[in-house]
């Protein structure tokens, strides 16, 4: 069997990133869009940790920072979602048009 190299991990991370981007661009439900953003951040984390095998521990430290950012982003995003749901009784992204004219 072919030994697993860094390239294998990079391809998996690219596929996860593409899946997350498809979710962000095509879904209407805001909750699932936020979950797709988590998928994208996880793909970035996998890249960082895969490269930390080649360049030392910096990648793992940065992955911890990315996880922190993901937590902050989820908290603020879901807070915005609750405020929006209270005003318009919907969770659909294409009905968020208050700032459009």
């Amino acid at each position: 069997m072919v030994p697993i190299t860094t390239l294998h991990y990079l391809v998996v991370a690219a596929a996860l990133f593409v899946l997350g981007t498809i979710g962000v661009l095509t879904r209407r439900n805001v909750v699932i869009i936020l979950m797709s953003i988590e998928l994208i951040l996880n793909a970035v984390n996998l890249n960082l940790v895969a490269f930390s095998r080649l360049y030392g521990l910096h990648g793992q430290v940065f992955a911890v920072f990315v996880i922190t950012d993901a937590a902050a982003e989820a908290a603020v995003g879901l807070g915005i979602l609750i405020a929006f749901f209270r005003n318009k009784e919907t969770v659909n992204m294409d009905e968020v048009d208050l700032l459009k004219w």
Binding site: V2, L16, V18, T21, L25, T26, M35, L46, F65, A74
Partner: protein, 169 residues
């Protein structure tokens, strides 16, 4: 230490991560998406273990699968409306979105295939027994300022979330 059956575990965990990722973006019910996302996160934690990063794997399980997903599930319970499941789940520009994203994926693969020769040949030896200790040394040494800024960011996020979700300020 020689890991056992590395290619098998790699393909198994990646297949699990990708299949659950597809389920996340295709399911109608947000709770099903959340459960699929938990499977993605757990298999990614397994991949981190295979990359000799046990600390990141533990943080992934505790913070992501434990913390963030509970937050998501709570919000799904708060905002779930039954009529959402009957209407269309995808917006009008889905075809353009998928085409653009597929082009992005092809670009990624091309860049990796062309650029893999610049990667270093040898991998750094990372002793997994000392991993947490070494991450802590980096975190509290070289990356002290970013660490403090991250704590400030979390404080701002907490205040922001409370202000956002409050009925009257």
């Amino acid at each position: 230490m020689n890991p056992v059956a590395t290619p098998f575990f790699f393909y198994f965990l990646s297949a699990m991560a990708l299949i659950s990722g597809v389920l996340v973006i295709t399911r109608k019910n947000p709770v099903h998406s959340a459960i699929a996302l938990i499977f993605t996160l757990l298999s990614l934690a397994g991949l981190y273990l295979m990359l000799y990063a046990p600390f990141v794997a533990g943080v992934q399980i505790i913070l992501y699968a434990g913390g963030i997903m509970v937050l998501f599930l709570f919000v799904i319970m708060l905002v779930s409306v039954s009529r959402v499941e009957r209407e269309s789940q995808f917006n009008k520009q889905w075809l353009v979105g998928i085409a653009a994203t597929a082009a992005l994926g092809v670009l990624f693969i091309l860049v990796y295939a062309k650029g893999k020769s610049v990667f270093p040949e040898r991998t750094v030896q990372l002793p997994e027994q000392l991993n947490t200790q070494q991450v802590a040394v980096w975190l509290y040494g070289t990356y002290m300022l970013p660490f403090e800024i991250a704590s400030l960011l979390l404080l701002v996020a907490i205040v922001g979330a409370v202000v956002m979700a409050k009925k009257r300020i």
